[in-house]
Symmetry: C2
Subunit: 413 residues, 2 copies
């Protein structure tokens, strides 16, 4: 058979430029994670594969600090994990309370609306977090089935305290879900001790991997709700598999079927994204080898050094500093400075990427991350050194050397 | 901060055993695809990243043989692409016709049901395909908005002819969608010439990659339906972005929003799974460098050699041989032979994996694939040589050397 000429769409071999990704994520993946992802594939039901799946579950129990049997990966980006949890827990008409303090709170509300849930939001100014009393009052007013709240909202860099919310939910029979994508691994998180029923994450922030796999965990109470809506696909259903409850309005995100695939029954659902599973496993393995507390302390240290350096360069911090994440800091773009031009200059001259933000903060702040593989002293000092030059070129007057010196002072403590 | 002991969940470095994956997929990924996936990450809006996205779109236009601007990746396994297309095209109450000739037809019907569509199926015995006349009669009876049909159903190895269906749909104002995951790259497919409005695929079959990314393409007519249901997320919405139509019941799978992310507006949706994108790009790049016609001819050759070898080993072919895919063949498990024991023996002694099937064919047939990176003469001859030994151990009486000889005869032609 001849090869037709129109097939000849040519593209060169992949060869991305080097970048130091110091924005709000994704960040540079740990090279060990990328190497793990290049391991050869095995079959879906190969004992090696099911063994890796079971190990991955156990590793993420360690990362989430939970004993939940139902701890697994959803094959997609972090928002796939969010949608899987919301569509599996919320039936049409169910009431859900979503406290919103940034873009990703809006996202939870929007996904819950698409599930047909009755969505109630309470809002806080971007740059602040909720008090437990505010959440408690909203729970009493709305009486929801589910509380859905982001832990770390990268759009504002705020970290919502969750420790007291579990008891409030438990006392009212409310399920408690948090999206911990931006915060996990860099800030304290205790799934069981804090009483969460569901949590979802991603690899591309403090876990040091690429986007594309979403670790999730579900309490027994959450699993019971999902099992109450169980349906098995025609084509692999057996006669005694009875359908119950309101069917989940997604096949791909039906956590009941995904649990059957990851569980002892190994019922075929999707074809597991093996390379992403290898990567997710390596992210958790490296984090636990370091120790969760040590990893969080590392993020706190490098975050503090970056923050001190930015302040010393004359930049003003955004948001309630008592409640920022360790792994990303936002600063106001100085008056008269073109924020996008500064970011472009950093990328062009120094191959360093930092971020701006969304919605009300778009063009008003820069967001600078120190997370995962990039939570290191060299990345902090390089970023501050380069930023000093770009800020000066943009017409501000930073004290020469002040940013790097302030960061070094934090390291010297 | 001390490291608590309970963090110390240990797992060894990833080190999967070598396997030759000769089942219905996933198969061994091309090492070049895995190497491409280990390239360093760049930021989501880095010119290098948006350049790779645009190249990936152009490459898949070549693979799908389409001029569709709306050609992109859905971040998830192949079933993510199916669900994205069905939930984006079908509003609750819309009528859809799903001709079912295997497990994956049932899957299309089940996903469409979860979208709230009015699903009409016609069924064919597993091992056969539909005639255009049968589809035409069903279209006239059901008068659907959408025809959804699998091209290659791996559960049966059948390849449904699609070439004549586009005109039938066009004449009736019906949208035409096919899931081409199992067949693409190994069998002819002509998106535009055959008049398809939507198609979705995966990497883990003839494309030679790992599962986890789903290339999809949409005609202008399909895009118009999706644009009629456009909603932009609160949090990134601007004042003049008006909502229209019945909102798509998924955020993650809202192809309108995904198009805005891949299109010139670059509106943030998910964080693109960069490593999977690198892999998907490499799959298409390698396929087009070989030439689509050459790749299909390669699959036809090795499929024919494998089929001849299996027959020469005394195995009976399953299904209508005029309509099998080039890349996977099913044979009946001989009477008195324990099919799972043979598969386990092949895996244990020779590290070769073959498959069984689902539903009515479970335990009745073996499925043996020759696809993607594994569509090679060495893999065919090794599999036939090993199978001869295992069949003999299972009590059948294959003629010594007959399988390998028959395959070699095909190659010698």
């Amino acid at each position: 058979m001849p090869t037709s000429r129109d097939d000849r769409v040519s593209a060169p071999e992949i060869d991305p430029p080097h970048r130091l990704l110091m924005g709000p994520g994704p960040i540079n993946a740990d090279p060990r994670v990328l190497r793990a992802m290049s391991a050869g594939l095995v079959g879906q039901y190969d004992p090696a594969m099911t063994g890796y799946m079971a190990e991955t579950q156990q590793l993420y129990r360690g990362v989430f600090r939970t004993a939940n049997d139902a701890t697994l990966l959803v094959d997609g980006t972090s928002r796939a994990g969010i949608e899987a949890i919301l569509v599996s827990l919320l039936a049409p008409g169910d009431r859900v309370l979503v406290p919103v303090f940034g873009r990703f709170g809006h996202l939870l509300a929007e996904i819950a609306e698409r599930c047909g849930a009755e969505v109630h939001t309470v809002e806080r100014e971007w740059g602040t977090v909720f008090t437990p009393e505010e959440i408690e009052a909203a729970l009493d007013r709305v009486r929801p089935k589910l509380l859905a709240i982001v832990q770390g909202d990268t759009s504002t860099t705020m970290c919502q305290p969750l420790a007291e919310l579990g008891a409030l939910c438990r006392a009212r029979g409310v399920l408690f879900y948090s999206d911990i994508t931006a915060s996990l691994g860099g800030n304290p998180f205790e799934m069981d001790a804090w009483g969460l029923d569901a949590a979802s994450a991603g690899l591309q922030k403090c876990l040091g991997g690429p986007s594309g796999s979403s670790p999730v965990s579900l309490s027994d109470a959450a699993v019971a709700v999902i099992r109450g809506r169980r349906h098995i696909e025609a084509g692999i259903r057996e006669d005694d598999d009875e359908a119950t409850g309101t069917r989940i309005a997604s096949n791909y995100f039906d956590l009941g079927m995904i649990l059957d695939y990851w569980g002892p029954r190994r019922l075929n659902h999707h074809t597991e994204a093996t390379s992403m599973l290898y990567g997710a496993r390596e992210c958790a393995r490296l984090l636990l080898a370091e120790g969760m507390d040590a990893a969080i302390a590392r993020h706190a240290l490098h975050g503090a050094a970056m923050t001190a350096g930015l302040v010393a360069l004359g930049l003003e911090l955004f948001g309630d500093q008592r409640h920022t994440m360790h792994n990303v800091v936002a600063v106001y773009i100085p008056d008269g400075v073109n924020g996008d031009a500064v970011r472009a200059g950093l990328l062009r001259d120094f191959a360093i990427e930092i971020g701006t933000s969304f919605g009300p903060l778009h063009g008003k702040v820069w967001r600078i991350g120190t997370m995962g593989y990039n939570a290191r002293h060299d990345t902090v000092l390089l970023t501050l050194a380069a930023l000093e030059h770009v800020l000066r070129a943009a017409g501000t007057n930073p004290t020469p050397g002040a940013g790097v010196a302030a960061a070094k002072e934090v390291y010297a403590r």
